[in-house]
Symmetry: C3
Subunit: 210 residues, 3 copies
């Protein structure tokens, strides 16, 4: 049962991110294979990095159905991406859902692999953000982590909330639900209301040589 | 014997990609060490990623002669890159040969490591394309996967052809030869005749907000 | 004792690189979490890649204090980066110290893991340079390896000097000291005096098609 929930998170996150990768491919007017590559790399990138860092077998090597799903989803976007009128908006919201899902799934997998709380939170953030980072690097986009609104912080909030709840020996479903909800809410608020954290600002009156 | 053929593929692919890395270094007017770095990373990058994802020992850590070869090849390009009159053209053709070689070698190594057909094809594509992707990222070039002509598709065709032939218990040489020939032919046609797949195109008449 | 020296190198290198990551974040006017992400990725990136390539457990998964340190250091920079008048200069010098430390630490860890001399030198160079490479890619900066002055060569000199000294069964402290000093001196000379190696130059009079 627990396994099932974790796997469902992984699958949903993979699908959501695969769509965002394919949407970037549509913005670059790539061909079908380009869609499949960018969709797949985005869908499985964060989880792949997590598994490599944990020294676990990479999930999609054991379970190639993840690859097939990413390719099918990307193909679907290729033929239907003209339907949504605002593809960029859709990309951001799907990215938000994937971010919240992977923040929890990454933290959970790290905890199951024996990592302590800090490592679990770090793996949640890595799983949630590196699919999008790789997507933006390969697609020649401005990395989403440089965006003005809260992004990495939402993944951090979700992974930290999950890890915190689990330290109280709470039922796993509670931890997963709380982590997902907090991650998604924070990112949604950032998208909807333009929430942002205070940014570093050069102090006026001080000279800089660059 | 089979081992020998696989290793020969690997070596030729490494040399071809190392030259392309060094040619990018020549376009950026880097120094000798820059040539060695970019040549080596390009030559071994795809195979390194393949080995890490498969959980196999990284090939050049076991066999440092690969490193030495990349460095020597890059040095040779440093002193002779003024000879070919059209370095960019040479880069594209060597890249095509490396692409076809690695598509087969990557798929074969994954199959030997117990991966099923889908994983084998994916590893072929990864091995064939990520050396060039890393080269372009580090060298500040536009990623070759964004190019208009067929690129990733050629690696896919080669890896899929090899995997298909091998499912019929054909002799390995036949699979390797077929995969390599198909991969190279597809990419050569793309380079020579400008072959491309249909690209995603925004539908006219529909408004997009970006 | 030997363990202690190696660990001290690692710690100092991690701190130095984490600061450079945070300084790039300050140049991009990121928020506190952005500082922590970029500082951490830069601090642990090179060593992480080294461990993955060697097939060793990733150092910070076993010892999460590295993560905590990177986050704290990045936070410190967030609140004090306005103090140094020339943040870019500070970035370059800290980067030089981290480069020399990691060149030796990477080569030593590879040697301890059973790699031969060539692999040890390669791992020294990788550990020393990839933290900065990842930092520049994620931060949208021009990769430091494309800079005009000697950079990768300094890591190479340090790692090679360490490996050379160690082949004579010299005390480890001597090897570490020599490697660090040579790496730092070469990079410092490059920064201070603009040392550079001869660069590849297109020969005049020869036509190029690009």
């Amino acid at each position: 049962m627990f396994e099932t929930v974790t796997m469902a998170l992984d699958w949903l996150g993979v699908v959501a991110f695969a769509i965002t990768g394919a949407l970037v491919a549509s913005r670059k007017e790539m061909d079908l294979v380009g869609f499949a590559l960018l969709g797949t790399v985005t869908g499985i990138g964060g989880g792949t990095l997590r598994d490599v860092l944990l020294g676990s077998p990479v999930f999609w090597v054991r379970e190639p159905a993840y690859l097939v799903t990413c390719i099918l989803v990307s193909g679907l976007v290729f033929f239907t991406a003209h339907i949504p009128q605002s593809r960029y908006r859709a990309l951001l919201w799907l990215d938000a859902i994937g971010l919240a899902l992977f923040a929890v799934a990454g933290a959970e997998k790290a905890a199951l692999a024996g990592g302590n709380g800090i490592v679990a939170v770090a793996m949640g953030v890595i799983t949630a953000t590196f699919g999008g980072i790789i997507r933006d690097l390969l697609g020649g986009e401005v990395p989403v982590i440089l965006s003005r609104e809260i992004y990495v912080s939402a993944a951090l909030a979700g992974a930290a909330a999950f890890t915190l709840v689990m330290t109280f020996d709470a039922p796993r479903e509670l931890g997963i639900g709380t982590g997902f909800a907090i991650g998604l809410l924070v990112r949604a608020a950032a998208l909807h209301r333009g929430w942002s954290l205070p940014r570093y600002r050069p102090r006026p009156g001080l000279p800089y040589n660059r």
